[in-house]
C-alpha cells in the first residue's frame, strides 16, 4: 500500500506577506498575509491523475508550485519517494530531484523563452540535468519527443522560434519540455485553458498518451470541473486555501457533498439544451484571502450556513471509503470521527 503513493502533501501551508507602505509598517503590529494555501493534505498515487479544482485565487496554483518547491512552503511536508523534499538542499539534492518532477505552465505564450529555438527549449532540461551523453543523443531525444507530440516532421520545428507557432503547438512544446526527462511526477497547471476547444482536446489526448505510456503521476490543476471529470481519477475541490471535498472523480461529480462543489457543478454550462439541471446559485464572490472568514470559509456564500459554520471550522472528515468532506452538514454522529 505504501509503495503506491508517489507524492504526499502533509498539512501544506503557504502564506505570502503583503507589502505595506513605509508608514503602515510602523503602525501595524502584525503584518498581514495572504493565506494562499492553509493546511492542505493529499496523496497522489503512482500513475494517477489527481485533479485540483477551484476558482481563481483559491490557492491551487500555489499548491502545485509548493510541491515542486518553486515557492517555498511556509510549513508542512511534501513527501516524494519517501523523503521530505523540504529537507533537501536546494542546490544539490533538489536539483537532482527535479529531473523526476516537472511542470507544464498555463500560458504557452509566456512560458517559452522567445529567444530560444524549439530545439534548444526541449534540449535545455537534458543539458542542465546532464541526462544525455552526447549532442547526438540530445538530438535523438528531442526528435523522438517531438514525434510523440505529433509535431511531424520534427526537423522542421528545430530551428523555429515560439512566435512562429500557434498556441496549441506552443503548448505541445511545453509538454515536450516537461516530458523529455521522463518525470515520475508532473504538475499540469491549467495546460489547456488558453486554447480553443477544438485544439484543446487534441493537446489533452497527446498529453494523456504520454502519461499512460510512462505511467506518470499527475497533479492536474484546473478550474473546469467538467474537464477534471474527464481526465482525473481522483480530485480535490479547493476553496480559499483549503480542500473542502476529495474523492474519486465520479463520486464527487455525481454525488457532491459540499455545497461549494454542488454550486461549482451547477455553474458549468452544459452543451445540451434539453438537459434539466438543478439550479444552485451562490451569491457573491470569493472573499479576500488576507482575512479569510472565521469558521467555515464558505459560510459567507453558503445557502445552508448555520450558526456553527460561523464559529467553528469544519475538519476534513471521512464521509465514505476514500471520500472526504469538510462541512458541518456532513458531520453525523459517527461521521465526526476523522
Amino acid at each position: 500500500m505504501k509503495e503506491d503513493v508517489c507524492l504526499e502533501a502533509r498539512d501544506l501551508v503557504k502564506h505570502f506577506p503583503v507589502k505595506l507602505g513605509f508608514f503602515k509598517t510602523l503602525v501595524t503590529k502584525e503584518s498581514p498575509h495572504v493565506h494562499a494555501v492553509d493546511g492542505v493534505s493529499f496523496k497522489i498515487k503512482k500513475g494517477e491523475i489527481f485533479g485540483l479544482v477551484g476558482e481563481s485565487g483559491c490557492g491551487k496554483t500555489t499548491t502545485g508550485r509548493c510541491l515542486l518547491r518553486l515557492v517555498e512552503p511556509t510549513s508542512g511536508q511534501v513527501i516524494f519517494n519517501g523523503a521530505d523534499i523540504r529537507s533537501l538542499s536546494l542546490e544539490h539534492a533538489m536539483r537532482r530531484l527535479r529531473r523526476k518532477m516537472q511542470i507544464i505552465f498555463q500560458d504557452p505564450y509566456e512560458s517559452l523563452n522567445p529567444r530560444m529555438s524549439i530545439f534548444d527549449i526541449i534540449a535545455e532540461p537534458l543539458r542542465i540535468q546532464k541526462a544525455a551523453e552526447s549532442e547526438d543523443e540530445i538530438r535523438e531525444r528531442v526528435t523522438e519527443q517531438l514525434e510523440e507530440l505529433d509535431m511531424i516532421p520534427p526537423e522542421e520545428f528545430f530551428y523555429r522560434f515560439p512566435h512562429e507557432l500557434s498556441g496549441g503547438q506552443r503548448q505541445r512544446i511545453a509538454i515536450a519540455r516537461a516530458y523529455v526527462l521522463r518525470p515520475e511526477f508532473l504538475v499540469a497547471d491549467e495546460p489547456v485553458s488558453m486554447l480553443d476547444a477544438s485544439i484543446r482536446s487534441e493537446v489533452l489526448k497527446l498529453m494523456l498518451g504520454l502519461q499512460r505510456k510512462f505511467h506518470t503521476s499527475v497533479l492536474y490543476i484546473t478550474h473546469d470541473i467538467a474537464l477534471a471529470r474527464h481526465l482525473c481519477d481522483r480530485m480535490a475541490v479547493m476553496y480559499l486555501g483549503k480542500i473542502v471535498e476529495m474523492g474519486s472523480t465520479e463520486d464527487v461529480v455525481h454525488n457532491p457533498l459540499h455545497p461549494y462543489t454542488k454550486a461549482l457543478i451547477a455553474a458549468v454550462p452544459v452543451p445540451d439544451p434539453t438537459a434539466r439541471r438543478i439550479e444552485v446559485v451562490i451569491k457573491g464572490e470569493v472573499p479576500s484571502a488576507i482575512n479569510p472568514p472565521q469558521g467555515c470559509r464558505f459560510h459567507t456564500r453558503c445557502p445552508h450556513a448555520m450558526e456553527i459554520c460561523r464559529q467553528e471550522e469544519p475538519p476534513l472528515i471521512k464521509a465514505d471509503e476514500n471520500r472526504y468532506v469538510a462541512c458541518h452538514l456532513q458531520r453525523g454522529p459517527e461521521g465526526s470521527k476523522v
Partner: protein, 318 residues
C-alpha cells in the same frame, strides 16, 4: 415580421502586406426582434470581425468589400461616420467587448463612464443621466452605491456587470456580446449569464453572443450560427443543432466539450489547424480537416441548403 438585423452576403477583408485576409467571406444571417443568436467558432474564424462590421468599428485596414447590413430597414454599410455615431452605436446597437474587464477607464468612476455615454447621445440633464445610471447598475444586480467606485475597486465579475449595464445605457435594440465571460470563473460566469438572460426577457432585447464555447450558447441562446474560416457552415435553432448537427465541424465541436452530466465520453478532437485566411483552401474550407472529405469537397464550394425548418447547412454530404 421584418428582422431587426439582416446581414446579407457580407464580405469583410483585412488588407495586409501579404494580401487580403478574408476574415468574413459571404456571410448572411438575421436576428429577429427579441431573438438571441449565438455565433460560435474557434479563434481566428472571423466571428469578432462580424461584430466589428455590424458596428462599423473596423480597424483602418479592414474594409467591407461587399454585402449589406440592414438594421431596422436601413443599410448601415454606406452610412456616414457622423450618422453612425449619432444614431446607431449605443442607441440601436451596443457592444460588450471581449476582455470587458479592461474596457473600463481606470481613472474615472463607474458613474462618470456610464453617464458619459448617456450624455453624448441623449439630450438629458446630468442628474437624469446619473439616475438612469444607478437604475442600470441595480438592473445588473449590483448595489447602486457602487456607482461611485473606480474600476480597480471592483472585482472581475462586477466590472463585467458594469460593462453590461453600460451597453444598455441608451436603450439599444441589439446588444452584441463578444466573449463576455472568458476571463471569469465558472460561478461568476453563471451569475453574469443569468443577469444577461434576465435582462433579455425584461427589456425585450435582441442579443448576439459571440463565443467559442458552445455550451454557453445552449444555455442562453435560441438560434446558433457556426462559423468556420470566415464562413457560416451551419445555422439553426439551438435544439435542432444539438439534437442533429449536420455539418461535420459542428459534430466535432459539440463532442469536444466535456460535460458534467451524462456518461463519460471520449472527447473528440479535430485534427490539424484552422486554415490561413490569406489563402483559404479551395472548395469546402473544412475539407483538409474533415473526416468525410470527398473529391468534390476539394474543388467545389458547398452551397447553403435548408434542411428541416430554419436549419441550414453548407456541406456536400447533405
Amino acid at each position: 415580421m421584418e428582422p431587426l438585423l439582416k446581414v446579407e452576403n457580407l464580405k469583410m477583408y483585412y488588407k495586409t502586406v501579404r494580401g487580403y485576409v478574408k476574415a468574413v467571406d459571404d456571410v448572411s444571417f438575421k436576428v429577429d426582434v427579441k431573438e438571441s443568436l449565438g455565433l460560435a467558432g474557434e479563434s481566428g474564424c472571423g466571428k469578432t470581425s462580424v461584430a466589428l462590421a455590424i458596428t462599423r468599428l473596423l480597424p483602418y485596414n479592414g474594409k467591407i468589400i461587399d454585402g449589406s447590413i440592414i438594421l431596422d430597414g436601413e443599410n448601415i454599410v454606406n452610412m456616414s461616420k457622423e450618422e453612425l455615431r449619432k444614431n446607431v452605436r449605443w442607441k440601436r446597437v451596443s457592444m460588450i467587448f471581449q476582455g470587458a474587464m479592461n474596457a473600463l477607464h481606470p481613472t474615472y468612476t463607474v458613474a462618470h463612464q456610464i453617464t458619459e455615454a448617456i450624455l453624448a447621445h441623449e439630450d438629458v440633464s446630468k442628474e437624469e443621466a446619473l439616475e438612469r445610471a444607478s437604475k442600470l447598475i441595480e438592473l445588473v444586480g449590483m448595489k447602486a452605491s457602487r456607482i461611485n467606485r473606480y474600476p480597480h475597486e471592483l472585482s472581475g465579475g462586477m466590472k463585467q456587470r458594469v460593462v453590461t449595464a453600460m451597453a444598455l445605457a441608451c436603450n439599444p435594440d441589439l446588444v452584441i456580446a463578444d466573449e463576455p465571460t472568458t476571463a471569469l470563473d465558472v460561478i461568476v460566469q453563471a451569475q453574469v449569464l443569468g443577469v444577461m438572460k434576465d435582462l433579455q426577457s425584461k427589456l425585450d432585447l435582441s442579443w448576439m453572443l459571440i463565443t467559442h464555447d458552445l455550451s454557453m450558447i445552449t444555455e442562453t441562446c435560441s438560434t446558433v450560427a457556426i462559423m468556420y474560416a470566415g464562413k457560416i457552415v451551419e445555422y439553426g435553432s439551438v435544439i435542432d443543432m444539438f439534437k442533429e448537427p449536420l455539418h461535420p465541424y459542428t459534430q466535432k465541436l459539440l463532442t469536444a466539450f466535456p460535460s458534467v452530466i451524462g456518461p463519460k465520453m471520449e472527447l473528440s478532437s479535430i485534427h490539424g489547424f484552422p486554415p490561413d485566411l490569406l489563402k483559404p483552401p479551395p472548395g469546402c474550407r473544412f475539407h483538409p480537416r474533415c473526416p468525410y472529405a470527398m473529391e468534390i469537397c476539394k474543388t467545389k464550394e458547398p452551397v447553403f441548403v435548408e434542411k428541416g425548418r430554419r436549419h441550414y447547412v453548407a456541406c456536400h454530404l447533405q
